[in-house]
Amino acid sequence: MGAVTYPDKAVIDFVDYNFIPVQVQVTDTALMQKYNVSWTPTILVLDADGKEHYRSVGFLAPGEFIAAMQVGKGRYYLDTEQFPEARAMFEEVISQSPEANAVPEAIFFPGGHPVQAHPRPKPLREVYDTLTAKYPASDWSQTGRAL
């Protein structure tokens, strides 16, 4: 990540605009244990209380990194009940990075959130149909079966 992804200008601008970035070395065993981290790179999206909302494990090229962290920020918004912001973030992933591996998750969460974001059955069915048609091999398509 340090050699390829983090020096990328688009990544720098994206991180600077969207997050408070902090790096912790694997020698910080207390934090590794606190967040149950056993592999690097592991990237977490946290709220101001330190609660985890999203996790990515393994290398991500610049485009995949941005798309994944957009989903991560969307999940943060969703969990903190900032629904319009969550929807906007997920839609940004879908429109800006349609080929990214994070897209099925970005499709799943706005329609799949069962409580307040989108409780009506028709959109839920549309989400499932979209996922199975476009991303049949994705884990999110299998998860969407419950919709």
């Binding site: 990540m1 340090g2 983090y6 020096p7 200008k9 990544v11 720098i12 601008d13 991180v15 600077d16 969207n18 997050f19 408070i20 970035p21 902090v22 790096q23 912790v24 070395q25 694997v26 934090l31 590794m32 967040y35 981290v37 690097t40 790179p41 592991t42 990237i43 977490l44 999206v45 946290l46 709220d47 101001a48 209380d49 330190g50 909302h53 962290m69 991560g72 920020k73 943060y76």
Partner: protein, 33 residues
């Protein structure tokens, strides 16, 4: 614009900044070797 990500090295400081700015924290665990 910055030429590299301006990483903090202290989570407590990052959480404090997050509370003030309303931005989430991006926490990267890395191995420098």
């Amino acid at each position: 614009m910055a030429m590299q990500v301006c990483w903090l090295d202290n989570l407590a400081k990052a959480l404090e900044t997050s509370a003030r700015t309303k931005k989430p924290v991006l926490l990267d665990f890395y191995n420098p070797q």
